[in-house]
């Protein structure tokens, strides 16, 4: 029999843990209820009960936590909606200072990004005329701030910050040092691939606390998806705001076009990247991830679309028109399929057995692979016939990179569906593969222009 005061305290601590698991009951509520329980126990102790008996009786009197939380939920129904608390959390002064510091830091980095967009103008760049410059450099102006923000939040080691600086410097060299003509293919390729390459630098900042961890890498994948969704939402809100500003100012005969186009839109778009990043960080555990939900919606639809294409192709025995646009289109298709796969992986319970959705995914990946093989054959024929260009080389490289990933993924998903391979293998494969995308993006940016004579 245990009846010491320590034992009683341990029971209180355990009870508190149960209470804290209830979303309807907040920290102050738990304090209040604990005080109530202690009052009850004290009274029973005075009545002559042993401590553990008193505790049992007191807990029993309080009734089940289910009933209690249901009653709390009626008064605090808002607690069932997970709210994103931006600042001034009620969970104590320490949390408040932390979130305030967070907010301030976010603002600083967001303003930094917004200001950076305007800096080139100080050196004579003109947004209306130097489109090529801006296309190649846009990501260089904005993404370092996001990476800096993440590195700041994670208190990244100096060595890692050095690596980040080096990567962004390398990006700056790639974007500006090569003598690329305004209408060269390489310039377009750099404009597309540099953001991807730099995005992986952001990823490095994201996983700063544990660069090799597969879990952290998967977190970065989730971060990317959520940031995209948030950015789109912010952009929609911004669009509404801009429409109102235009409407109201024009109603009083003043055209805000200049201010809007030169300042509000570019600076807002840049700052919003950091703000979106911060939102994802802040809401991580608060709001359901939306990217996996979208994945669930679109995986069946894409599967049907791809299968329909394959069937039509087989029936009409048509020929794929492998122009540049077609090549890019099919690359994008593979990227989308990969995204669907990646985001459902990111949200899947690693221990769950294979289900219908996994089979569906297998069908999606296999049909995408089948289509891609058809496209690749067509392209290979054309390249041997006409020689290659930077565009074709980049597109082909991407295709191969994605194809390898999807082919092996298909194999792993097949193993999963047949119950032969664990889900973890698929997850590991995807996270281990991430650096390959980064490497290819850097190759396109750094190596392809000189190889093709800055064409």
């Amino acid at each position: 029999m245990t009846n010491g005061p320590d034992e009683l305290e341990a029971q209180f601590a355990q009870w508190r843990q149960y209470v804290q698991r209830r979303r309807e009951l907040r920290e102050p509520d738990a304090d209040e209820l604990e005080d109530h329980l202690r009052g009850s126990v004290d009274e029973l102790l005075t009545a002559g009960l042993h401590p553990d008996e008193a505790f049992l009786v007191a807990v029993k009197r309080m009734g089940s936590l289910d009933d209690l939380s249901r009653e709390f939920a009626r008064e605090h129904s808002e607690r069932l909606w997970k709210q994103l608390v931006l600042a001034g959390d009620t969970d104590g002064p320490a949390a408040t200072t932390r979130s305030r510091r967070d907010l301030l830091g976010t603002l600083l980095f967001a303003v930094g990004a917004a200001v950076s967009v305007k800096v080139p103008e100080l050196f004579g760049a003109n947004p209306d005329e130097d489109g090529a410059f801006y296309a190649a450099n846009a990501s260089l102006l904005v993404l370092p701030w996001l990476a800096g923000f993440l590195a700041w939040r994670r208190r990244a080691a100096p060595a890692l910050i050095g690596v980040l600086l080096a990567l962004f410097a390398l990006g700056a060299v790639a974007a500006n040092a090569y003598p690329l003509a305004e209408e060269s293919q390489s310039l377009v390729l750099t404009s597309i691939h540099l953001p991807i390459a730099l995005w992986f630098a952001v990823g490095l900042a994201y996983v700063a606390d544990d660069v090799r961890s597969a879990r952290r890498r998967m977190d970065f994948v989730r971060f990317t998806g959520e940031l995209f969704v948030y950015y789109v939402l912010i952009a929609l809100g911004g669009g509404v705001l801009i429409a109102f500003v235009f409407g109201t100012f024009e109603a009083i005969g003043v055209s805000p076009e200049d201010v809007m186009a030169r300042w509000v839109m570019p600076c807002g778009a840049a700052g919003a990247v950091v703000v979106a990043g911060w939102l994802v960080e802040a809401k991580q555990s608060v709001v359901e991830n939306i990217a996996p939900v979208l994945t669930r919606l679109f995986t069946p639809l894409f599967t049907v679309a791809l299968l329909a294409f394959l069937v039509t192709f087989g029936v009409t025995s048509g020929v794929i028109d492998v122009e540049r646009e077609a090549l890019i289109l099919f690359d994008l298709l593979l990227a989308v399929v990969l995204g669907l796969l990646l985001y459902s992986i990111s949200a899947r319970d690693p221990l769950a057995p294979a289900g219908l959705f996994d089979r569906l995914q297998l069908a999606l990946v296999v049909s995408a692979l089948a289509i891609d093989v058809l496209v690749l054959l067509a392209i290979a024929g054309r390249i041997t016939e006409y020689g290659t260009t930077p565009n074709k080389a980049a597109a082909l490289g991407e295709n191969v990179v994605l194809l390898i990933n999807l082919a092996w993924s298909a194999w792993l998903v097949l193993g999963l569906v047949r119950g032969r391979a664990p889900f973890a293998a698929l997850e590991r494969w995807q996270t281990a593969y991430l650096p390959v995308y980064a490497a290819w993006a850097w190759i396109v940016v750094l190596l392809l222009p000189p190889v093709f004579g800055y064409l």
Partner: protein, 124 residues
């Protein structure tokens, strides 16, 4: 005899406000006081009391703060506000009407006796 749930719920607000009008108090003490007043006939649970206190706080009828009274644990004390007092007065007026009407009925034409025990402890 236990008082029905509906009646407990209906009388909960004036009872809590009435107890707080006597003195500032905390959850456990309020519950004990209600027990005392009703001779244990009112079946109050924590699930009724605390959400009610929080609602009264949200409506501005009471204010809460954590206090350490000498020799005791730190507790969340509730204090009735002016708006709470006004609410109590209003509730009391309504309850008086109800109680008077019921008494009138139960006294019968000859004005003899009351037939039922009414849980009006909180209004006393």
């Amino acid at each position: 005899m236990k008082v029905t749930k509906d009646l407990v719920a209906a009388s909960a607000t004036p009872m809590v406000l009435g107890i707080l009008a006597e003195a500032d108090s905390y959850g456990y003490a309020i519950l004990r006081r209600i027990n005392e007043l009703s001779g244990g006939e009112l079946d109050w649970t924590e699930g009724l009391l605390y959400p009610l206190l929080h609602r009264l706080e949200r409506l501005g009828h009471v204010e809460a703060d954590w206090r350490s009274v000498a020799g005791e644990r730190r507790r969340k004390y509730y204090r009735i506000t002016d708006s709470g007092l006004a609410e109590l007065a209003e509730q009391r007026r309504q309850w008086d009407t109800v109680v008077d009407a019921l008494k009138e009925i139960w006294r019968g034409p000859d004005g003899s006796r009351s037939l039922i025990v009414f849980p009006s402890g909180g209004l006393a």
